[in-house]
């Protein structure tokens, strides 16, 4: 599944998921695996951070937060994940269990109900957003469409979430996000620069018509 040939960490088992499940939740695809590869690439940096609280927003099957927990296996952390789709949070919990990881999911819209208490506390933040360019009317579902419908320039949900990152992330925290070219990463970089964040592109990969990138943000050091 992962295209990296030198994988130090096992890709999470998802054999417990069936084609039936994928009617309701997003089946891990190139974008998910690219994020896994980026986390693997950054594993030394991530381990050095000694994170206390990790959060994945829009966890879908839970494969990414599970993989992060696998990287950090010898350093226990709190692994929270959210999804607006209740089926996804249920499945994410299962994915964690199948891989010996305890994931604590919450069904909610982005980080609603968690953001107050998590202010300045998230050490690793993951977001594989609904980035597909779609009509605005397709945004706002609580079902499987929420996994991809991104509205104009695929940025509707992304932009709504970006305003929350500064409050969530701890001083040394890292934020990883999946985007496609249509989301205009350069514009995202400028927006986040204004919020006091530096951006780097960790990995880029073409998958069919999509040019995927994993962006990593951290607070600009004085």
């Amino acid at each position: 599944m992962s295209l990296t040939s030198l994988s130090h960490f096992p890709t999470p088992k998802i054999s417990h998921l069936s084609t039936d499940d994928f009617k309701f939740i997003y089946e891990p695809a190139e974008d998910s695996f690219l994020l896994l590869d980026a986390l693997e690439k950054d594993c030394v940096r991530i381990e050095k951070l000694r994170p206390c609280i990790c959060l994945e927003v829009g966890c879908g099957s839970g494969i990414c937060i599970t993989f992060l927990a696998t990287i950090l296996k010898s350093w226990p952390s709190l692994y929270l994940c959210t999804d607006i789709n209740h089926k996804a949070t249920e499945i994410a919990q299962q994915t964690g269990r199948e891989n010996g990881i305890n994931i604590q999911p919450v069904t909610t819209d982005l980080v609603e109900s968690l953001d107050v208490r998590l202010k300045g506390q998230v050490d690793i933040l993951l977001f594989n957003p609904p980035y597909v360019v779609t009509p605005e009317s397709e945004v706002g579902s609580k079902g499987i469409e929420a996994a991809w419908a991104g509205g104009e320039r695929g940025r509707q949900v992304i932009d709504r979430f970006l305003t929350k990152v500064s409050d969530l992330l701890s001083e040394e925290g890292l934020f990883y996000m999946v985007v496609i070219n249509e989301n205009i990463p350069e514009e995202i970089e400028q927006m986040m620069k204004k919020e006091g964040f530096d951006m780097e592109t960790v990995l880029t990969r073409r998958s069919g018509p999509e040019l995927l990138s994993i962006l990593r943000f951290h607070r600009t050091q004085a």
Binding site: C52, S77, H86, Q104, T107, T108, V116, R117
Partner: protein
């Protein structure tokens, strides 16, 4: 849902609710699940925990061993205490139940160990 997670949930997402913390727990089905004791993890998490909210939640879940009213720095070396904190934070699992907003009384369901904090459009 572990009490560690519960400690981070608020209901001030509801229109008109100021603090929405802590959420009361109406337990339906509670299980004890053994988790490896890691004292370092507990001492790292403690400063982030709202202690009275944890104490209240543990009581609501029927945690018999009880927790002291405060935990001072000098007590962090007390392994027995840390083990009790570990048990309350990580080993109590609310599988079915409800979370209740302390201001509005609005109930949020917990099913299969997962709290659902989604609101209806008129509540936002």
């Amino acid at each position: 849902m572990k009490l560690l997670t519960h400690n981070f949930l608020t209901s001030n997402i509801i229109k008109g609710v100021k603090n929405g913390y802590p959420l009361s727990i109406l337990p339906g089905k509670v299980e004890m699940k053994e988790v490896d004791f890691n004292p370092e993890f507990i001492t790292r998490m403690l400063p982030k925990i709202e202690w009275s909210a944890l104490q209240k939640a543990a009581k609501e879940c029927g945690f018999e061993e009880g927790l002291p009213d405060t935990v001072g720095e000098e007590q962090l070396g007390d392994t027995d205490l840390l083990k009790r904190v570990h048990k309350a934070l990580l080993e109590i699992e609310v599988v079915e139940g409800k979370l209740v907003c302390p201001e509005s009384g609005r109930e949020f369901p917990i099913n299969n160990g997962i709290p659902n904090m989604l609101l209806n459009e008129d509540e936002v």
